[in-house]
Symmetry: C2
Subunit: 207 residues, 2 copies
Amino acid sequence: MARKTKEEAQETRNRILDAAEQVFQRQGVSRTSLADIADEASVTRGAIYWHFRNKADLYDAMIKRVLDPEEARCNAGIVTDSDPLGFIRGLAVDFLQQLAQDPRYQRVFEIAWHKCEYVDEMAVIRDSHLECGRRFIALLEDAMQRAREAGQLPSSACPRQAAVGLIALLDGLVVNWTLEPALFPLAEYAPGLVDAYLLGLRASGGH
Amino acid sequence: MARKTKEEAQETRNRILDAAEQVFQRQGVSRTSLADIADEASVTRGAIYWHFRNKADLYDAMIKRVLDPEEARCNAGIVTDSDPLGFIRGLAVDFLQQLAQDPRYQRVFEIAWHKCEYVDEMAVIRDSHLECGRRFIALLEDAMQRAREAGQLPSSACPRQAAVGLIALLDGLVVNWTLEPALFPLAEYAPGLVDAYLLGLRASGGH
DNA sequence: TAATACATACGTTCATGTATGTATGTAAAT
DNA sequence: ATTTACATACATACATGAACGTATGTATTA
């Protein structure tokens, strides 16, 4: 075949990423060959090697297609300063609702949590996600701090511990629900569980 | 070499399982060949194929060596009927403390959560673990129910939602801490976070 | 002596990366 | 406005290596 226009090339790239989502979800990252992805995308391995250096690079791009907008949205709301705890609650609940609705979110988070081993080149990718997670913890910790200063949390509360607990609750819900969506109704349970945890923080001081 | 006595054979089997823990943790399950494990255990692949059918069977045995005693311990305490919420708290905190202390727990849970892709033959194994998780949820749900009847939780509380939230919190802590132990002090945070969540349930009714 | 507990040897499959082929779009030269 | 030249966007072909399962050998032990 032959050269395509720039837009067509981008379409090809996206088709490859779409295909990767499907096949990774079915077979896991390790057991998926680039030939499998090429078949699913109706291209050859040549096309994949043109757009990506290797499987790890492709995987990274697939994750970033979802995470980058998510983090942008996360930082966009940071200006809200009057009600820190409400800001935190909104962030958490919105994310879980988004996951409950968006099939691409479901695929990508299922892959990231259950269909990928983070070793070797993948470990580098995991570290970049870990960096992302650390920034999120810092953001939450900062918001918890402000909530304490605003009197929304008792002065005895530990902002970091409170932040860690919330992340754990969120990740735990994501991990379990992506593993088996029939286990519980995520969208229905999410607000109540987040509220319960935050309410517990106000009552106990987080330690 | 040659035939050994039964006890020696069991030692060999355990050496192989120990080696598997080490290599799986380093390289991930997929990227680990049986030759790698054989080298680490100072045996040949022949020994592994004698004791296990294949890598999935070996992995399953490795997990069960930790999970079976854990579940036994879990069911042993079930008789406690006077203080359901205290029983739940004990179960949760003990488990987290155990993880914080026991290197084998740390290895195996890190492998199960972060170094293994649950597809194909592995999916069967995951289902058996999922079964185990379901039993744990049922156990918690039942305890939550009894807690409600004992007046430890408001009558508006949903036992299943409460159980799911606790599991999520626990799994979230395990997942994050095994991913990066330096992120937070597990043993120190565990009691406070579990208490905060349970306290939140009492206050909010779990919904 | 027969089953056990391994070690060794073999054949097959399969994924990877690269090298090379090829046809088209694109920009500059005429 | 053509032609020319080159970069682009893939497809195809090839060489390498690694892991798997099995088959077979061998020395004990019961």
